[in-house]
C-alpha cells in the first residue's frame, strides 16, 4: 500500500534501533536520539528548535483552541496515515470555529515494538500535512507504553488559531431558511478504512478524503463573513450524526434532499454491499456550512472553484418544523427520519 500520497525527500537516517522500546520513553539518551533524529529535525521551526517545556506564542485577538486524539486502526490506510489525520483533524476543528489555524502540539503515545520506519513515515505525514495547512508544530510529548497496552501509536494534537475578523460562527446564529451546504462527496474516509480492516478487506480504489479545510473556509469567510452562520466537519458518525446534533442544539428542524447529497459511485456501491448508510460514515476532509439563504448560491460557487470543493452541493435547509429532528426526502419522494445511531454502525447479515 502507498503509505503517503506525496513521497517526501526525507530518507530515514541510519539508527541503531529499528523498533521502539520502553527506553525511548524514558526521557534519557534513547528518547533524545529518537526525538533528534525524528521529530526535531523533520518538524524544525523557531519554536520547536528551542526544545523548551512549552512554546511562547504571540497571538492577538480572539483565539480558537481545540484538541483531538487519534487512535485509528489501521495506522496506514488508502489515502493517508494517522500522522496526516492527526494534523488535518485538529486544523479542521479550528477552521470550523471560523479561525485560521496557527500552531499545533503533537503528543505521541507509542506502543513498545512499533517499527521505527513506520513511525518515520507517520512523522513525514505530520510534516506534510502541517506544511499543506500552513501550521507549525510548536510543542510535543512522547511516551512509550508496554506491548499490549496500546495499539502501535496514538496521537493527540491540540491546536490554536486566530479567529477570522469577519467570522461569527455560533449555533445560535442558525435561522430557519438557512441553507445547508456540504463541501464535497461524503463517506470516503470511513469506507477507505473499512476496506482495509481485518476480515473485511475488499478491493477498491477508494481513498480517504483526509485533508485540511482551512483555506476553503477562509475563502468563504473572506467573501461572505457573517453570512456564514455555522460550520462543522462531519467526522465520526458522519453527516447524519452532525446534523442531528445541530438540530437538537439549535432547537430547529433540518430537511435533507437525498437526491442532492453527493456520494461517489464506488463509495455508494461499497456502502450498499456492506449494509452501511453513507450518511453515517465518517469524513475527514469535508465540512457542512450553514449559510444565510441569500448567500447560498455564492457560497456554493466559491467552494466549487476550489478543487477540494468541486463537488459541493446544497443538500437541505433549516426549518421551524419538527424541532430537533432531521428529515430526509428520499430520491423517490418518500420521507423518513434520519436519527442518531445508538452506537457503532454495524454491518448487516444479508
Amino acid at each position: 500500500m502507498t503509505k503517503l500520497s506525496i513521497q517526501l525527500n526525507c530518507p530515514m537516517p541510519k539508527l541503531d534501533f529499528d523498533i521502539i522500546t520502553l527506553g525511548h520513553g524514558s526521557g534519557g539518551l534513547l528518547t533524545h536520539r529518537l526525538l533528534d533524529a525524528g521529530v526535531f529535525k523533520l518538524l524544525a521551526n523557531e519554536f520547536l528548535d528551542e526544545q523548551h517545556d512549552g512554546a511562547l506564542l504571540d497571538l492577538s485577538g480572539k483565539v480558537a483552541f481545540t484538541t483531538d486524539s487519534f487512535v485509528i486502526s489501521p495506522i496506514f490506510f488508502p489515502g493517508g496515515n494517522i500522522g496526516e489525520l492527526a494534523v488535518n483533524g485538529t486544523v479542521n476543528d479550528i477552521a470550523m470555529c471560523g479561525a485560521i489555524p496557527k500552531y499545533l502540539s503533537l503528543g505521541f503515545i507509542l506502543e513498545e515494538g512499533l517499527r521505527m520506519d513506520d513511525l518515520w513515515e507517520i512523522i513525514l505525514g505530520v510534516k506534510h500535512a502541517a506544511a499543506q495547512a500552513g501550521v507549525q508544530i510548536v510543542t510535543g510529548d512522547t511516551k512509550v507504553v508496554e506491548k499490549g497496552k496500546g495499539d502501535q501509536i496514538f496521537i493527540n494534537t491540540t491546536g490554536i488559531g486566530v479567529v477570522h475578523p469577519a467570522a461569527d460562527i455560533r449555533i445560535g446564529r442558525i435561522r430557519p431558511g438557512d441553507q445547508i451546504i456540504v463541501s464535497g462527496e461524503i463517506a470516503a474516509h470511513g469506507i477507505a478504512i473499512m476496506s482495509v480492516r481485518e476480515g473485511l478487506e475488499f478491493e477498491t480504489d477508494i481513498l480517504s478524503d483526509s485533508t485540511n479545510l482551512n483555506f476553503l473556509v477562509k475563502n468563504l469567510l473572506d467573501k461572505l463573513g457573517e453570512h456564514v452562520h455555522f460550520l462543522r466537519d462531519p467526522t465520526r458518525g458522519g453527516v447524519a450524526t452532525t446534523l442531528n446534533e445541530i438540530a437538537k442544539k439549535a432547537g430547529l428542524g433540518i430537511e435533507l434532499a437525498q437526491a442532492q447529497i453527493p456520494v461517489n459511485e464506488q463509495v455508494d456501491g461499497a456502502c450498499e454491499l456492506l449494509g452501511l448508510d453513507p450518511l453515517y460514515v465518517a469524513n475527514e476532509g469535508k465540512f457542512l456550512a450553514i449559510v444565510a439563504p441569500e448567500s447560498a448560491d455564492e457560497a456554493l460557487e466559491l467552494l466549487r472553484k476550489d478543487g477540494k470543493g468541486k463537488n459541493a452541493a446544497i443538500i437541505g435547509h433549516v426549518t421551524e418544523n419538527h424541532i430537533g429532528q432531521v428529515l430526509l426526502k428520499s430520491k423517490i419522494g418518500g420521507r423518513r427520519v434520519v436519527n442518531m445511531l445508538p452506537g457503532e454502525q454495524l454491518p448487516r447479515i444479508c
Binding site: G275, L327, S330, K331, I332, R336, G343, I349
Partner: protein
C-alpha cells in the same frame, strides 16, 4: 451497480404508485417476509406513498430478531471461553442475551470479531491453530450455503479448530405458522427474493394451494417492492391466489442447485424455536451427524438452561404482523436501540428499529 439507479428511478416509482392507486378498491394487508424489504420500505419512505387501503405488515424475516435468547447466551458463553475466538456477522453483536450482549462481552475482554463471510473464519482458524474459532452461523436459507461451505471447506483442509454455532431458520414453515394462527390478518405475502434465489420457488406452491394466499417473490429496491405490491394487489382484487415472481432477474424457479446440495450435505432440518413466536416444527437447520465435529454445540457440549424472554417485549405480536411497533407501549420509551427490550429493536432489519430510525 446498475440496480442502484435503475430500480430506484423516481419516475418508474411514480408510475407504479399511480397504477397501484388506480387498481386498489378495498383494504388489503400484505406482509413482506424479509427484514431487508422492511428496511427498504421504511428507509425509502415508501410506506407513506402507498394508497391508504394497502397496509404493509413486517414479517419475521429478520434472522437477528428471531434468534432465541438461549442461542445468544450460548454464543456469549463460547466467546467468554478463553480459548475461543467467536466470529459473527455485525448485526448480532448488539442483541441482548439474558444478561448481556456480545458487544458487552467483547468490552469485557472476550475475543469477538465481526466478519462478512464464514470462509474468513476458516482462514482465521488456519492462522490460529492454538485457538478454537467458532462462527455464529445465523440466518435464513440465504446465509446457509456459505455457512455450510465453510464447514465443507474446513473438513477438506483438515482444519480441526473450526466449528459453527448454527442458528438457521426457514421461511416457508414460518409463513405457515402465521397463516395457521387464528388471529391471522394477512391477505398476501411478498416472499423474500434472496431466500428464493437459493431455494427456488417450489416449496411455496403448497402454501398458496393450502391457504389460498397470493405470494409474490419480490426484490429489495423501491421499484421491486412497488411492483411486488402491485402484483399482489392485482391478484387480491381479482380474487386469485397464485405464486408469482417479480424478482425474475435473479430468482429461478428451481433455485440454486449447487447451493442447495451444499446445504443438504451439512445441515438437516429440525424443529426450531423462534424468538417471540415459539417452536415451529421443521423450521430450522442443525449440523448433521456427518459433520458433528464442526458443530459447536456438540464440540463444547453446550447445554445451557432455558431462559425466559422479557415479558414487556411483544416481539412475537410484531413479527406476526398483529401489531405495529408504535402500538407497543414500550416503543421509544422503555425500549430504544440503546436499551432494547427485544431483538426487533436492535437489528437494522428489525421492524421496531426500522420504525425507530426512519419513521416520522
Amino acid at each position: 451497480m446498475k440496480f442502484l439507479t435503475e430500480y430506484r428511478n423516481p419516475e418508474v416509482v411514480r408510475e407504479y404508485l399511480d397504477e397501484l392507486h388506480r387498481t386498489v378498491t378495498q383494504p388489503w394487508t400484505i406482509m413482506e417476509i424479509c427484514g431487508g424489504q422492511t428496511h427498504s420500505l421504511v428507509k425509502n419512505g415508501i410506506l407513506d406513498l402507498l394508497p391508504k387501503q394497502v397496509t404493509m405488515v413486517h414479517g419475521p424475516g429478520c434472522p437477528v430478531c428471531v434468534t432465541p435468547l438461549g442461542i445468544i447466551d450460548e454464543a456469549i458463553y463460547l466467546a467468554e471461553n478463553e480459548g475461543v475466538v467467536l466470529c459473527s456477522f455485525g448485526d448480532m453483536l448488539r442483541v441482548p442475551g439474558s444478561e448481556k450482549s456480545l458487544l458487552e462481552a467483547k468490552a469485557g475482554g472476550a475475543d469477538v470479531r465481526i466478519l462478512y463471510s464464514p470462509l474468513e473464519a476458516v482462514k482465521l482458524a488456519q492462522e490460529h491453530p492454538d485457538r478454537e474459532v467458532v462462527f455464529f452461523a445465523v440466518g435464513f436459507e440465504t446465509t446457509a450455503p456459505a455457512n455450510a461451505l465453510s464447514v465443507v471447506q474446513a473438513k477438506q483442509l483438515g482444519v480441526k479448530n473450526y466449528a459453527i454455532l448454527a442458528s438457521h431458520v426457514l421461511v416457508p414453515p414460518a409463513m405457515e405458522a402465521i397463516l395457521g394462527d387464528p388471529d391471522n390478518v394477512i391477505n398476501a405475502f411478498l416472499a423474500a427474493g434472496h431466500v428464493c434465489t437459493i431455494m427456488g420457488m417450489e416449496e411455496y406452491f403448497p402454501v398458496v394451494e393450502k391457504y389460498q394466499v397470493p405470494i409474490v417473490v419480490t426484490g429489495f429496491e423501491p421499484v421491486d417492492l412497488l411492483q411486488g405490491i402491485l402484483m399482489a394487489v392485482k391478484q387480491l382484487e381479482r380474487g386469485e391466489a397464485k405464486l408469482e415472481n417479480q424478482y425474475a432477474r435473479v430468482v429461478q424457479r428451481e433455485g440454486n442447485l449447487l447451493a442447495m446440495q451444499t446445504i443438504e450435505k451439512v445441515f438437516e432440518v429440525s424443529d426450531r424455536s423462534w424468538r417471540g413466536i415459539g417452536t415451529i416444527p421443521q423450521s430450522g437447520y442443525e449440523v448433521s451427524e456427518t459433520y458433528a465435529s464442526f458443530d459447536a454445540r456438540r464440540k463444547f457440549n453446550l447445554q445451557l438452561a432455558p431462559v425466559e424472554e422479557n415479558k414487556d417485549c411483544i416481539a412475537g405480536t410484531i413479527l406476526k404482523g398483529l401489531k405495529k411497533p408504535f402500538e407497543c407501549p414500550n416503543f421509544r420509551t422503555k425500549c430504544t436501540p440503546e436499551h432494547p427490550l427485544g431483538a426487533p429493536m436492535v437489528s437494522s432489519e428489525g421492524a421496531c428499529a426500522a420504525y425507530y430510525h426512519f419513521h416520522a
